[in-house]
Subunit: 434 residues, 2 copies
Amino acid sequence: MNFPCCGSIPEVAPGATTPDTREHIVIVGGGFGGLTTALALRNVPVRVTLIDRHNYHLFQPLLYQVATAGLSPADIASPIRGILRRQRHTTVLLGKVTGIDVIGKAVLIGERRVPYDQLVIATGARHAYFNHEEWERFAPGLKKIEDATDIRGRILVAFERAENSGDEQERRRLLTFVIVGGGPTGVEMAGAIAELARRALATDFRNIDPGSARVVLVESGPRVLAAFPETLSVAAKSALERLGVEVRLGTRVSRCGADGVIISNDWIDADTIIWAAGVMASPAAKWLAAEHDPAGHVLVERDLTLGGHPEIFVIGDTALFKTADGKPLPGIAPVAKQQGAYVAQVIAARVGRRLAPASFRYRHLGTMATIGRKSAVADFGKLRLSGFIAWLIWGIVHVYFLVGFRNRVAVLMGWLWAYLTFERGARLITGHDL
Amino acid sequence: MNFPCCGSIPEVAPGATTPDTREHIVIVGGGFGGLTTALALRNVPVRVTLIDRHNYHLFQPLLYQVATAGLSPADIASPIRGILRRQRHTTVLLGKVTGIDVIGKAVLIGERRVPYDQLVIATGARHAYFNHEEWERFAPGLKKIEDATDIRGRILVAFERAENSGDEQERRRLLTFVIVGGGPTGVEMAGAIAELARRALATDFRNIDPGSARVVLVESGPRVLAAFPETLSVAAKSALERLGVEVRLGTRVSRCGADGVIISNDWIDADTIIWAAGVMASPAAKWLAAEHDPAGHVLVERDLTLGGHPEIFVIGDTALFKTADGKPLPGIAPVAKQQGAYVAQVIAARVGRRLAPASFRYRHLGTMATIGRKSAVADFGKLRLSGFIAWLIWGIVHVYFLVGFRNRVAVLMGWLWAYLTFERGARLITGHDL
């Protein structure tokens, strides 16, 4: 279906009939950064337009659970219009941004121009294949809902094909799952696939033993979860190995095809390959013709604005913000949310002609990653946890931050059910022809 | 993704190493009929293979709620392997049947042959366009999960496009929804779309009033729900009209295009057209070269077998079984389930060399249809109900018959949430490009 770019276009404005003299704040992206900005502008006397390609805000940290049949897409996605419904000065616009007219101060959606007074770019990141874009069809990444249902279908179809295959070597290939990248997504996917095979599917088949599935996690660095303290990397690795995951450190993928991968000169026959190895910022740097790092992150000032353009903010996974010690901030939800809140503060101060905090400061509250249904690692600075306690905290924190009461209850119910029965309720193969 | 038809194919048999001399019962189709047959064969000393194109059993009566963003696909679909997991003599085979070798007694899945001793065909029905197959792309029907998520996307995208359109006539067209067919599916879809527009989306937009959406239900006969007593048809029509649905009786669609439909020489500009007007049995009649009615239903004997082939049963929506008064049985779940149970009884009797009941007899327990969130009609023979009480019974019955505890709880939670808040949680546009 195509989105029509109509000839005559209405000014994006709330239903007001008198001309609206309030400043127009345009936010591009309804992820953690953009949505937080919009919500934090609730009581600020401006007009707000939030533009996104999708009609929902996606709670990305749980996307791997959709990919492994634990949750349904609607459990972790909430319509943006619903979230901002009561904020009458805010308009949600479904559209795919194609560029920005920095001089004319307008966001471009194809032929359509959305003029702004101040602009917030929060367009996130996508997977990067390091100049091997041809690998994407063999090794999909996990960023969108469609990615997750596609990966779910691939994993489940692999088991179905193995059940139907009479060839032992082919079965081995079908029951081999390679996850490339040992960051949180890779670790969580590897753990969840291992558990799916050994638990949820354990007695489902008659010709194969799903428990014999081989799950290989490939990481080029010396340890998994490189952003975590070393003790937690070690704990995560053992937890994965207890689930039967083969963790291959210090190895790189040098080829990727329909039949398998080559890692460090070693050919692995594999039907399902999942890419969790790298991200690339959205094309915002190109739109803005701005200074950026090789991964496309836009270099921003201390107040998250673009150099020479105080009216343009860039936040979240799209931005390159260096902390006092010169390190860039990680591409995680808390960074995006704190930046969104900060930007709203700056905008409110400007509109109210008050002094804004001159510099954004990130408060690191902690990071977590889960491994299967009983284990996790959590790093809260001085407090470092692993195992069951970390898993409980992980669950509470993730449900707490989920947007929307219904989603929280649905996710909790789903987890409780999965925990008590080892079942995975969302085991549907859709959109995959036989 | 293609399903490989491998060179060497394993005999479909449970893990047993000694040759299995039990009769092999092959069931084609995991809908209400096929699944009931498989479950009812639980304690019968045979081998069972159930073949389906999908890996899940779909609770079709609630599919319209997925199409109107009330439920998630996984809420009404349950993996067939999971349901039959503990039945060790039953194998589930994911595959698309392409024909049947009646002489050689084998089901064909492409190049693969699955031999049977007794065969149960329960392949259901699909939509029929009465020699206007070209209408399908403009007016999709509602049979599969993919249909439901496609229709959900079309409906939601129509509102989004209307919000973005500056042209009043175009907005009217985008906000017009035509449902063709006044049977239960058509009535339920019309009611659910009207409620979605007037309630769930009421305050979501800034440039349009979703409540102004026009919902037209077109029925060629003199009343909606023709299979129900006339008083209930009247009640259903008023309930629909109270929700703002335009009910057009005695009218036929004579053209169907991307921009709208012609009904009884009347052109209606409409962006979304939904087909609920007719069904066509699966190609089973062709596979069997059997006698059938124009809609493809296979004529069966009193014991649901194919004439001259006592080893082949045809049940559910695929069969044409005439009752004593010469009327065919309706294509509804209770008929399929009772037929499945009867066939299992016959098979058990044959295997045990006992006498089987000579003729299938349908016990009509009642039919129901729901209109929006507070109204329904229910026909239990002498007892005929409409309104809120009927709606409560409808809800209890449908949740009761849902397969799987988790699905029941998930659906109940979703409904309770929707009932209390008028919200629709599954309002996701996926797989639709902008």
